[in-house]
Subunit: 261 residues, 2 copies
């Protein structure tokens, strides 16, 4: 495969999440162009990434089949947005979690790229219909929400805009799978997506148990880190219920009974 | 230390949970007497435990500082309840999750043991005030709820009866810590204790997202196994919130905003 055959992804923003995406895409063999609107920041990001790739390789934790130096060679930094976007088929935005900033960034990007280029946001809390409200062609827009730290946690939530084409979701799902992530598909947008809604439920019940005097903060953390977390790192809640042995009716509520173990 | 110096724990019931407790207590150097009301079952349980201890030792997963054979030598099986309870300072009940059965078992046990012997139930779903309602001296009663599989998951929820003495909770906490478990203290009883209440919250929100058409069963499981579970196997929800960077106000609810990442 010659250099010109390698597909290009542009990462917008060179902070922690931007650098992580760049490393993930490079680990999958993509050429990655990193843009930052602060002059010199994208070059600094690549220096930081180089250090990390070498450390990961030494620790035998480097992802993908290429060496650290081969992956590094796929990265380039840009202070100019037009140059950064040239040739890209996929754009992953990783700027601050400020709605107006993201709206403005995607407005600027759309004026530069072709209409088939996929526009993806890393937002953890803004629904696509807000993030992409200033984009004309929203059929190629979605949120691809990673989990921190993205290089080590595989989950990516893919959240469509109401106008997003199914092929765009499919292409992004395949891309995330190819770079070794574990994409899940939200069928329609909802505040908090799935992960933060489940996390909100966990935290709400945890707070209630602490505030009502049933357990200490330290101990409710242990309930997760020494108990449920270990389980859920292996199997999800639905599989847990499916595997759980049926219990005798004890006069307690179904919502409790169905999930004991 | 001579054999007579080794403290004795009696495990009531030789099913999966009873065998697991027996292995845990033996790993901590306690002499464990296993009782089962089905003749021959406790002997069968020890045969099964022997097999497991050997496999764990070969896999370098044996707990404690004693060898598999040294731990096995600490175990003995009984078909007679009085013999099984003789000399014990701590009794761990692991019979079926049927309230009447547990009430009856503890009633029988109390007629045999001294008033200072700690009576502990493995129940996952019955509050102590129900389990111990037929016990006269309830100051030495508590629930010690393990998580399946107890040999590999360290969490144990300690739940007091309203009458339970603080020293009984302390002694049990120290015992669980000594055998390498991670005990947490419920300050008062509540349906579901802490773990199953948090799990109920997770499952309720997961079901809602599936039933309202936001995500598939397969993908909501991945949200946990590839996302939150990995995090919670390392740190709890309170520590997660504490470590999370503050976010800009985006017009979304505090309950969501405070837990994004």
């Amino acid at each position: 495969m010659s250099a010109s055959d390698i597909k290009i992804i542009t990462v917008i923003g060179s902070g922690l999440i931007g650098r992580s995406w760049a490393m993930l895409f490079a680990s999958g063999g993509y050429r990655v162009k990193i843009y930052d609107n602060q002059p010199g920041q994208s070059a600094k990001a690549i220096t930081e990434i180089k250090k990390q790739l070498v450390e990961l390789e030494e620790a035998h934790m480097l992802r993908g089949e290429l060496t650290a130096m081969q992956q590094l060679a796929l990265l380039s930094g840009y202070d100019d947005l037009s140059q950064a976007l040239e040739g890209a088929f996929f754009v992953q935005e990783c700027v601050f979690e400020q709605l107006e900033v993201k709206q403005s960034v995607f407005h600027d990007i759309e004026r530069i790229v072709g209409k088939d280029v996929i526009l993806s946001s890393s937002t953890s809390c803004l629904v696509p219909s807000k993030v992409f409200s200033k984009v004309q062609n929203r059929s190629r827009c979605l949120v691809s929400h990673p989990v921190n730290p993205p290089y080590h946690v595989k989950l990516v939530e893919l959240v469509p805009h109401p106008d997003t084409a199914a092929t765009v979701m499919d292409t992004t799902h395949a891309l995330m799978t190819k770079v070794g992530q574990a994409p899940v598909l939200l069928k329609k947008e909802i505040d908090g997506f799935a992960l933060n809604r489940v996390q909100a439920a966990i935290i709400a019940e945890s707070w209630r148990l602490v505030q009502d005097g049933f357990i200490s903060v330290k101990d409710i953390d242990l309930v997760m880190s020494e108990g449920l977390g270990m389980r859920y790192a292996l199997i999800g809640p639905m599989e847990t219920m499916h595997l759980n042995a049926p219990k005798e009716e004890m006069g307690i509520k179904m919502s409790q009974r169905s999930q004991e173990f």
